[in-house]
């Protein structure tokens, strides 16, 4: 299948989401602002839940709301990510497969991304992610060479910086939004911070 590019913004937010809730399984959606066809460019992500991932109502609600937001902002849902609470096992759970299937119905080169908790130590050299794509109705491991993270060193730096400064607590996932609806699950504030750190002036 095709190439997948993962943007700094998407990676950093996913990473911070997993760091914010180290004792829970977390999940979220991967979005793209590029048109369909050709390589998949994951340009953003929306962190969803950190509790009771297999339960349906909130997941359905979140999918619907993100769908609406995407239509308003010319983005598409192109994938799903999950980080399991148990670091020794980063294989997709049944609920991950189910949600990824649903996304694949609307987007035929959707990706399923599992964050490998075991590889998330501060001195990791490679992105702690495992990606799956849909081949013959099954989710199969994607060839590492078709996954691109431009400027990986800078991305890693930014993620580390935000974690050290405690700014990861700025991240709002859908679960947190439901606890306090004044908090913004589109994370405009955090996006701005990441963009600032990523701008050429800072590199």
């Amino acid at each position: 299948m095709g190439e997948v590019e993962l943007s700094c913004l998407a990676y950093v937010k996913m990473y911070l989401h997993a760091c914010l809730f180290p004792r829970c399984s977390v999940n979220g959606l991967l979005l793209s602002s590029s048109p369909a066809g050709g390589a998949v460019c994951v340009t953003d992500c929306v962190p969803l839940l950190h509790s009771h991932l297999p339960l349906a109502p909130i997941t359905q609600l979140a999918l619907t709301q993100v769908d609406v937001w995407c239509a308003q902002t010319q983005q598409r849902i192109v994938g799903y990510y999950q980080a399991n609470a148990c670091v020794s096992d980063c294989s997709p759970t049944p609920c991950a497969l189910k949600i990824a299937d649903k996304i694949a119905e609307q987007c035929n080169n959707a990706v399923l991304l599992m964050i490998d908790g075991g590889k998330m130590s501060p001195d990791y050299r490679v992105p702690p992610i495992v990606m799956y794509e849909r081949k013959d109705s099954r989710w199969t491991l994607k060839d590492k060479h078709t996954i691109m993270l431009r400027q990986w060193e800078e991305t890693r730096e930014i993620a580390g910086q935000l974690l050290d400064s405690g700014d990861h607590s700025l991240l709002v996932d859908f679960d947190s939004h439901l606890d306090d609806i004044t908090r913004d699950w589109t994370n405009q504030k955090l996006n701005a911070k990441i963009a600032e750190l990523a701008s050429p002036a800072n590199v």
Partner: protein, 283 residues
């Protein structure tokens, strides 16, 4: 500082990073002023330190407690927890077994053994052990909740619902249990479960009218029932009414939340559109 730590202890907060930050200063500088409180603070700090991988701090606390309370089972359990944090599960298990040999009714040691199974990813074993535990200690709320979580992760929604029913019986005013039960029923699916889920979402709202999950849950379950071809006109009408009420409440809540902050304009708009689009599919 002392009061903060006490509050966190009483509310069972797991804000380990904060506790560790506060505690180092407290212990180093003010130990003499804490009096007998220091022992319970050592325990609290030790557990927080384990949570943050601060084995150095945990070790210090453990030594102090061992000196003061030699042979104490409570301290022995803390030693076991440290071994767990270092992933030395077999040794930790042996530690807990020795506690249980002396005192077979020690619930803390039994629960730690189950936590070890969970940490190792052995969910089915953990479930079996927890069920056995609950046969003996049927009133342990924390255990019932843990069991319901384990069942949810194994997609065994029927048994998860049973655990939540136990919790609701003993805690009829807890809106969170009602709401979780409703979510499980919704996930199970089917008209009967949807109707039950709607009732329990409504109950959760009665107990706490600011529970957004319950409000959205009520909206979604009522909408799905109304849209189902299997219901008669009267039921459909009633559910359309419930859904409309819920939609109204949701809109109001978001309007209130959206006032004055530019931040969540996106979320507010998304909700509005979502409610509109769901209305169309319902009618």
């Amino acid at each position: 500082m002392r009061d903060k730590l006490r509050k966190w202890r009483e509310d069972n907060h797991r804000n380990s990073e904060q506790i560790v930050d506060v505690a180092e200063e407290l212990i180093n500088e003010h130990a003499s002023k804490l009096g007998d409180d220091i022992w319970i603070i050592y325990e609290q700090v030790m557990i927080a330190a384990l949570d943050c991988s601060r084995d150095d701090l945990a070790w210090t606390c453990l030594q102090e407690l061992k000196k003061q309370f030699p042979g104490s089972q409570r301290v022995k359990r803390l030693g076991g927890m440290r071994l767990e944090a270092l992933e030395k599960y077999e040794e930790a298990g042996k530690q807990y077994d020795s506690i249980l040999q002396e005192d077979p009714t020690n619930t803390a040691a039994r629960k730690r053994k189950i936590s070890i199974l969970k940490a190792q990813g052995k969910n089915t074993d953990a479930i079996r052990e927890l069920n056995e535990y609950l046969e003996l200690f049927v009133g342990d709320q924390e255990a019932w909740h843990e069991l319901s979580d384990l069942y949810i992760n194994e997609h065994d929604y029927g048994k998860a619902a049973f655990c939540l029913e136990e919790l609701m019986m003993t805690n009829p005013h807890n809106h969170l249990y009602c709401e979780q039960y409703a979510e499980v029923k919704y996930t199970q699916g089917g008209l009967e479960n949807l109707e039950l889920s709607r009732k329990y979402f409504a109950q959760a709202l009665k107990l706490n009218n600011r529970n957004m999950r319950a409000l959205f849950g009520l909206y979604m379950s009522a909408s799905h029932i109304a849209a189902s071809p299997k219901v008669n006109a009267a039921v459909k009408k009633a559910n359309v009414k419930y859904a409309a009420w819920a939609a109204n409440q949701i809109n109001r809540a978001y309007q209130l939340a959206g006032r004055g902050t530019k931040e969540n304009k996106c979320s507010v708009k998304a909700v509005e559109e979502m409610l509109e689009s769901m209305q169309i599919t319902m009618s």
